[in-house]
Symmetry: C2
Subunit: 171 residues, 2 copies
């Protein structure tokens, strides 16, 4: 069983949510990644978020190393620019979008993700290194990696053993 100590220490989902786990934060990053928002006023206008909340979220993202403040020519004021760490959230945001596209877009898909001048369509694909592309609802298990403490790993492995002992081989 993944205990609450585990939460704070060694789960990459938890750690990701420590940085991004708030709705406005995701939407700020979405607009920075895909709508080229860079200025406080851009985010404020497009999100309709209170200025004190927006200031606090941007500050959090700068502290987390996901955005950086850049001073432009004196008249222009400061900009918020994504760092490599921030740009690398692209896949997770696309995967979240795709869930919404499949389950919560009754009037059609609102956004199409494209790359390059030719506007080729891009998407996130669950891939097995041996079997190739997998269905989004494929049966995936979480096994202990090198960063999981031994005492927690034992419980996860026992659950894994029981699960497979209960299933007949079907192929």
């Amino acid at each position: 069983m993944l205990g609450s100590t585990y939460e704070s220490q060694v789960c990459s989902i938890s750690r990701t949510l420590e940085v991004f786990g708030e709705r406005w934060t995701f939407l700020i990053l979405r607009n920075a990644l895909f709508a080229e928002s860079t200025r406080f006023a851009d985010f404020h206008r497009s999100l309709g978020i209170a200025t004190n909340v927006l200031a606090s979220r941007l500050e959090h993202l700068v502290e987390a190393g996901v955005m950086e403040r850049v001073m432009k020519n004196s008249g222009e004021g400061e900009k918020y620019r994504l760092t490599a760490r921030g740009r690398d959230l692209t896949p997770a945001l696309i995967a979240l979008t795709e869930w919404g596209d499949r389950w919560a877009a009754p009037n059609g898909v609102p956004i199409l993700y494209r790359h390059g001048r030719e506007e080729h369509p891009v998407r996130m694909q669950l891939v097995c290194d041996i079997c190739g592309p997998l269905d989004a609802s494929a049966d995936v298990e979480a096994l202990p990696g090198p960063g999981m403490p031994q005492n927690m790993a034992a419980g996860v492995l026992e659950r894994h053993r029981l699960r497979h002992a209960a299933q007949p081989i079907t192929r």
Copy 2:
């Protein structure tokens, strides 16, 4: 510019976050998907979350059609089981994990995602239908889809036009 009306109406990330946009909700789903948690007591023990908060989050997930309550044999009490809509969040959770693995796992990757008895490694891959696999930090644009109202689409397309007018062709 994506206005605040747009937020509530037609963005699939916003709609996804309306269902999942709260940290505990993601962690409940993580444990349901990957740690086989099904009972209230399982989630309570593994997450260390207050019972009233847990009850409210589970209720929200049932209302959103992501989990369903299943009554088992009288002695066993009720279980919470993921629906197809819930299982389909697997790719987004793996993508969030992978960001954490790359940027917030100083002691090594805590979890390895595997599928099947052979425990083949699985991962999320950003894919272009024409170019094939892309780097996670690839330059991706959001263009209007069929579900975006015309008046909003015009602004997005104008931004797109300006962006490409400013870039020389490099290949």
